[in-house]
Symmetry: C2
Subunit: 310 residues, 2 copies
């Protein structure tokens, strides 16, 4: 029987309000699965993709998981090894939940595992980021790093992939609501102005610094004061129907803060307990339902595990 | 005999590379002294100023210490109480060492003490900031807060005066070199562009977040990687002769980072030990001496005490 490994990589929330391109965390679900199997034909192929409604290309060089796996295989000098990838999409793309990052993370872990685990989990990061880059054009790790490594990750420098784990206060709970409308990350990037005022910079930086210190010191009041986005959210919110109303519902149910997850349309909120998060999630999905917008909600502690092998 | 109190407020380093208008720390010296004495004449007066080469106005409404003290006296409803202030400037203004902040901090502590300490140290902050505002036009606390309260302080919001103590790793040493040339804070502010690129914003924010986490976790390597200013320093450095050379000497003697102290012309560097800081300080002052620029150097742990009553 041919050897095979099955891997799960979780969804992730990038930006985290004041941490545009710098901060991201993983949640428990949803996520993507990838199965890597030995093959008699030399080279890397994608044998099957499911759950994508036929949208994703099987061509290695055009597929996020394919590009990531291919970069890894090339680095390891294993281009001639026969590997088949089966991609099982269990989360929507263009949702702001790091779908392509999950596929990229799952791909590198699956291939690394199949080849006898030559690299550590951390060493896999650049290859996964390369895959993510194929999907949205930018080389940044704020989804890939948490999807791969778990937890909340601060990326000081996306080019150098200089990253740090941010401590997570006990009891911190994430609510994520995904309204079923589609925004492509590329489009969401394009509407963002490439300059900010010095005043906005200072305000956003002060909030990010306070958020990091608040997380490190388990100080929920600091998190509440600082979990805000004065730069990106005002520009992207108009792409998301009822964003202000959803944010208002999150805050009124006790959320520490609420903003756009990645490039949207999903939103996230952080809470200090799951009872309030449940209440917020129900009210927000109800609001969307009243407007005839289907949605899914996810409530989860910060996922500390990241990508795992079944 | 009339009652009197004598107070010392230390110099401080604001901005701290990537924390423009947000971060500051106090050093042990130099600093300003203020003596507050009961007076038979009702009202607040400045009876004497020394060490200022006759540059500072005695008029309450035009003097940093006067404005700060006056705001406090007004808040306490003690306008009719006779108080004489004697200001002993022991540090140069326009040095980037928070000279006006030290005078403002010393003034409010001295007056508060003379009046029987009606307010806590923290409650004095807004009055001291009001005094500082008189000196440089901007309402910000990144010098005043550390001068008054000691330590390293993150000001999330200058308008709300929402501030937090940043943990200080054991062994952290500050070198400050003051070249004897004058830059007025107002001028140094005026040359700063009021927009930044989104890329600069992200880079600077990532560094600030890493600096805060590195300080909180006593991780000197994180501090070394992040103690940089890609926004303000490139604009202000040209006001400071030999800035790049001084910075280079600091780095080559092992500094974790080196940038402009406040609006300059003083520079600061942080080190993980005092031996390297001494070496850096000597080389930098020697460089300035070779160029016929007088300078003073100060080597100090972060001053945790702030303003104190003798």
């Amino acid at each position: 029987m041919r050897k095979g490994v099955r891997v799960f990589a979780p969804a992730s929330v990038a930006n985290v309000a004041c941490g545009f391109d710098l901060l991201g965390f993983a949640i428990d679900g949803p996520g993507d699965e990838i199965i890597a199997r030995e093959s008699e034909q030399p080279g890397l192929v994608i044998s099957r993709i499911s759950g994508d409604n036929g949208c994703l290309p099987k061509e290695i060089g055009k597929n996020t998981a394919g590009v990531a796996a291919s970069a890894l295989v090339h680095h390891l000098g294993q281009e001639e090894t026969g590997i088949e990838l089966e991609i099982i999409k269990k989360m929507p793309f263009g949702s702001g939940l790091g779908s392509s990052a999950a596929s990229a993370a799952a791909a590198v872990v699956a291939v690394n595992e199949l080849l006898g685990r030559p690299l550590s989990r951390q060493e896999l990061l650049p290859f996964a980021v390369t895959g993510e880059q194929a999907a949205d054009g930018a080389y940044h790790a704020d989804n890939v790093a948490p999807a791969l490594l778990g937890g909340m990750i601060l990326i000081r420098d996306n080019l150098l992939l200089d990253w740090y784990r941010v401590p997570i206060p006990r009891g911190l709970i994430a609510l994520v609501v995904h309204p079923e409308i589609t925004i492509l990350t590329k489009d969401a990037r394009e509407i963002i102005r490439d300059t900010v005022s010095l005043q906005q910079h200072t305000e956003q930086s002060g909030n990010l610094a306070t958020l990091i210190l608040g997380l490190a010191q388990s100080n929920f009041e600091m998190i509440r004061k600082s979990l805000k986005d004065v730069i990106i959210e005002p520009q992207r919110a108009r792409l998301i129907p009822y964003f202000e109303e959803m944010q208002q519902l999150a805050i009124s149910t006790g959320a520490l803060g609420c903003s756009i997850s990645g490039a949207g349309p999903s939103i996230f909120a952080l809470y200090s307990n799951s009872v309030q998060a449940e209440s917020g999630g129900k009210q927000i999905t109800q609001l969307l339902e009243n407007q005839a917008i289907e949605s899914q909600m996810f409530i989860s502690a910060i996922n500390l595990k990241g990508t795992f092998v079944y």
